[in-house]
Amino acid sequence: MMNKFMAEGNVTTIVPAQEVFPSAETLDRFGGDINLLSEISSMFLDGLPEMLSTMNTAIASGNEFAVERAAHAIKGVVSNFGESPAQEAAFRLEMMGRKCDLSAARELANELETELARLRNILDTFVKENAL
């Protein structure tokens, strides 16, 4: 398995790239259209910083409802690319917001950012390969 270095804020993590992307299920969701999947991946990558910013602002302000909505939005868009730890982390953060308990939200948001960095790495590679 290939490893890649990814910088995320002040933390540098070693993120393993997924060997097979897209999965058959994910590709099926896009009607087998690699170009469409690549286009949607690019859109996601472009919009990700804003989504993360919205989530972090919501956590910093202690607004449970905003955290729930921000995490829900991330979970929804990430789910298009197949089941992933990022989707699961976003779901847990969404539930925290819904239950109005943000005591561990910051830690979970860090975990989510790491998983999103992993996904971003996979999608980046995929988009570049299909741009050729």
Partner: protein, 204 residues
């Protein structure tokens, strides 16, 4: 056929739009619930809608509820897109007026099949609406017949609203579609036979 999609997430909206366009639908895209409600209640609005459940401001469930609250409006078939799996949530969406729901991320085949169901329901609803219109028109005509008809006391012609006199058969046929087969009743038959007996045969 035109379909409205309401989805606040640009990525999911783009995916939906692309897929539906490929299937031959004309897509009207809305970014939030308010925009969706305006589009669905406008003149010539799409009759089929796919609405994301969670949207900022007005959510998909509220859009369903408001669309259904209108009176004398054509039927709109609404499908909710939801990541929710709780049966109570689903039930509340359907009770608010949604016709169906599809889980996110959607499976293309499933979504297409559910849209086809919507098209069938709308086709049935339109056929039913046409029948109701026909029946209402027929009822108006029957009421005209049940009312006071001016009739000639000698030849039995009927006078219409424009002062034209019509043969009774043609008047009734025009208003009800009824055709007449001509026969003779026993009473008239007796009279006719009696009149023949009284008439001497013509000399040869």
């Amino acid at each position: 056929m035109r379909i409205l999609i309401a989805e606040d997430d640009a990525v999911s909206r783009r995916l939906l739009e692309t897929v539906l366009t490929r299937w031959g639908y004309e897509v009207v895209a809305a970014c939030d619930g308010t925009e969706a409600l305006n589009a669905l209640t406008a003149e010539g609005a799409p009759r089929l809608a796919i609405l994301d459940w969670m949207m900022p401001g007005m959510d998909g469930v509220e859009v369903c509820s408001r669309v259904r609250a209108r009176e004398n409006a054509p039927y709109t078939y609404m499908v909710l897109l939801t990541a929710k799996s709780d049966k109570e949530d689903i039930a509340s969406g359907l009770e608010a007026g949604a016709d169906d729901y599809v889980n996110k991320p959607f499976n293309q085949q499933e979504l297409r099949s559910r849209i086809k169901v919507g098209e069938r329901v709308l086709a049935l609803e339109q056929a039913l609406a046409r029948q109701v219109t026909d029946l209402e028109q027929a009822l108006v005509q029957v009421r005209q017949l049940k009312g006071l008809l001016p009739i000639c006391m000698y030849c039995k012609k009927i006078r219409d609203d424009q002062d034209y006199w019509h043969q009774m058969e043609s008047y009734i046929h025009h208003h009800t579609g009824t055709d007449f087969s001509h026969g003779i009743c026993p009473e008239c038959y007796e009279k006719w036979m009696a009149s023949r007996k009284q008439t001497p045969p013509a000399e040869v």
